[in-house]
């Protein structure tokens, strides 16, 4: 009987400790939301205000007025959307060729893709910027889009997936006189939906959140994405206006958190899958 009681106590302690760990990772976001609804006075009081007396929805309007946020938002959507669409158009045929054809130079060319995967943008950003400037593109969104349309990692992942699709299915389709284009469209794409979803989610999360690349590739508000706009709130709003800065931050975080809540299983799988393979 006694050991039984002890077991319950241990289980309860385990739950409590787990809840505590969970809070360490969730609380900063709750605190961000709380602060975004506080008055300036409330952010300055000590002990801190946990729940604002009357939620200050106006903070969001004020944050939005600190810069051309509609433009930032549109830029983020256009850049992220274009990258995903173009990546797919380029990646699928390439992965198909690498998975299903034999041709001279294949190993070498695929090796280049793997090598490209290992060279980070933090190393090559200066030459890429100079190229973009030479081509007269720095005032457009293109420097944030075109360097990413050839997704080395995506090609690698999709090729692995395509290789698992049995040759017999493709041969049967060829006997029925299906064109290669039709094989890709009717067989390869439908059969590799999980891999395609993985790559799309991965691209969405990393490009929507990207900060470094837009920072070095843009020099005017007209082409900046949301991440840069929010980061600049500290300059336009002053470093002590935390309620406004956090309101801007909520605007940046909420879309991605909603996506995460609705497809957390897929996102987690996508990240883990790409990490293990």
């Amino acid at each position: 009987m006694k050991t039984f009681d002890l077991k319950i106590v241990w289980t309860m302690l385990g739950y409590l400790l787990k809840a505590a760990v969970l809070m360490i990772f969730i609380f900063p976001f709750l605190w961000m939301i709380s602060t975004s609804l506080q008055t300036f006075r409330e952010t300055m009081t000590f002990p801190p205000t946990w729940i604002p007396a009357s939620p200050q929805w106006g903070n969001f309007a004020e944050a939005m007025q600190a810069g051309p946020f509609l433009t930032y938002f549109r830029n983020s959507v256009v850049v992220t959307g274009s990258i995903i669409v173009l990546q797919f158009l380029i990646m699928i045929p390439a992965a198909y060729a690498f998975a299903k054809y034999k041709f001279p130079g294949k190993t070498l060319l695929f090796g280049m893709i793997l090598l490209a995967f290992m060279i980070p943008g933090q190393v090559t950003f200066i030459p890429v910027y100079l190229m973009m400037a030479d081509w007269g593109l720095v005032k457009t969104l293109l420097p944030q889009i075109i360097p990413f349309i050839s997704n080395a990692f995506g090609i690698f992942l999709l090729r692995q997936y395509f290789m698992q699709i049995p040759e017999e299915i493709i041969e049967a389709a060829r006997l029925d006189n299906a064109s290669e284009f039709k094989i890709i469209r009717k067989i390869m794409i439908p059969m590799s939906k999980p891999a395609l979803a993985t790559i799309a989610l991965f691209s969405f999360v990393s490009h929507w959140n990207d900060y470094f690349w837009p920072l070095v590739m843009t020099d005017s508000a007209a082409v900046r994405p949301l991440t840069l706009g929010i980061a600049m709130l500290r300059e336009t709003e002053g470093i002590s206006n935390w309620h406004i800065i956090m309101a801007g931050n909520v605007i940046l975080v909420v879309p991605i958190l909603l996506v995460y809540v609705f497809c957390s299983k897929h996102i987690v799988k996508a990240f883990v899958y790409s990490g293990i393979k």
Partner: protein, 292 residues
Amino acid sequence: MDKKRIWEGIRPYVLIAPAMAGIILFVMYPVGYLIYLSLFKYNLMNKDKSKFVGLDNFTQILGRGDFYKALWNTSIYTVGVVILTMLLSLLIAVWLNKKGRFNSVVQAGIFTPHVVSIVSISLVWLWLMEPNQGLLNYIFKLVGLPPSAWLQSSKTALISVIIVSVWQAIGYYTLIIVAALQSISPSIYEAAALDNASRFKVFYKITLPMISPQLFFILIIMTIGSFKVFDTVQVMTGGGPNNATTTLVYYIYGFRTTNIGYSAATGVVLMAIIGLLTFIYFRLLSKKVHYQ
């Protein structure tokens, strides 16, 4: 018939052409261009005035204290982040390994910071670490600890940035380790149970070797990733105070407009470091790792 043959011969190249063009244009060519730039005293306003200086930029790098400071900061950051993240995620992963609803909720929760932009994370932590109104110092006060200056003092700034990076990274690595743990066949543990092996021994002799490929992977990914750290530093400290958090990429970034040749040379050094790290890891460790 002949036409069809020719088409079949060039077809693979046509299909991979756009992808290869992107990779050559935006990865391979820039690497070459970077090395080329590193040999010049580059004039951004008037390219014709750029001067070939050979390896001057590199000798300059090796003689400058601020470069060593950046290299040192990056190394400390990397060692700190890698060790703390690996230990904590291994611990949490073993703890949350059992399948269950609450465990998956906790796993999804600690993964949340990983899908959020570094900008947001940095801003939230800047607010938490604010020395006077920040919540962390309030909690410190509650439990009777002296307040910390966090990011405002050169003594604590780097460790503060490390804390934030570890906090953000743990969820991802925990999930990878959990996935690895769950792929271990239960029959191995059953055999160990028959032998009455202690829990510690089971962990040390079975679990650890079985997940060593994933741990090895994490070690590489995290070390290389840490050497590229920039965003947290840029948003949270701007490299300060007193260069206490200037990392290599931040250093490169700092010279991008004023001295492109020098900046490019530092980029070449960073690339070499990353390449060398990858090489050493594969050489030294791949033999010791137990692959299934």
